[in-house]
Symmetry: C2
Subunit: 143 residues, 2 copies
Amino acid sequence: MEFMVLALEEAELAAQRGSVPVGAVIVLDDRLLVRAGNEVIRDHDPTAHAEIVAIRRACRLLGQLMLDRCDIYVTLEPCAMCAQALSLARIRRLYFGAYDVKYGGVVHGCRVFEHAIHKPEVISGVSETQCTKILQNFFSGRR
Amino acid sequence: MEFMVLALEEAELAAQRGSVPVGAVIVLDDRLLVRAGNEVIRDHDPTAHAEIVAIRRACRLLGQLMLDRCDIYVTLEPCAMCAQALSLARIRRLYFGAYDVKYGGVVHGCRVFEHAIHKPEVISGVSETQCTKILQNFFSGRR
């Protein structure tokens, strides 16, 4: 999945900044619109997950609040904050890689879309092995 | 509740910017730290809810990711995005005013804190009448 390769590159860059390696890419009508990585550590901002950074960039670029012709590729299952943000932005389709048993809010935890007014289509486990590995490498390097 | 009065002032300013009137105030050890209002419309940013704006400002001001000595006063029940952000930021206590049957994610919808690792203490219905009225005025003026 070519867009997930770009999201993985963003995850790698996030790791180099000291943040948990998660990357996201937003695509408009199947063309790359923005790419972003987790910026929590660099920005001292607990809300700067890759998906939030990507949504903000995409909306600023398009000058609109709704991303209803856009899909997002994320290397990790979004948490409840990011899942609700994707719903608020009316993202059409969510592709994610690794599953997050602890913080995930799409197929784990509070399963935000089951209660949300706008429910993006969800395709999970995309390039799961690579997306999981980059996280494992990051956390094993910290021990 | 004096801090909710400040949050209501921020909600009023948000309405003047054309955004849904929601305001938030973050308090550190019972002293005002930051105040913020909904900036969704002004910033073309669907994530710029009052709570997210307030958390970002507070973390930037303190130069840290954790707001574990802080409480937040919000005029409306947080949605799932904001509730998870409050959990990620380790906010100690959440005071909110009006209930949000449609978008709320604390005592309605997916009830984020029931699944979250950090669960702020929640005090709901604070100055509920005024907090509800400012929303009703905004939406009735739009019909």
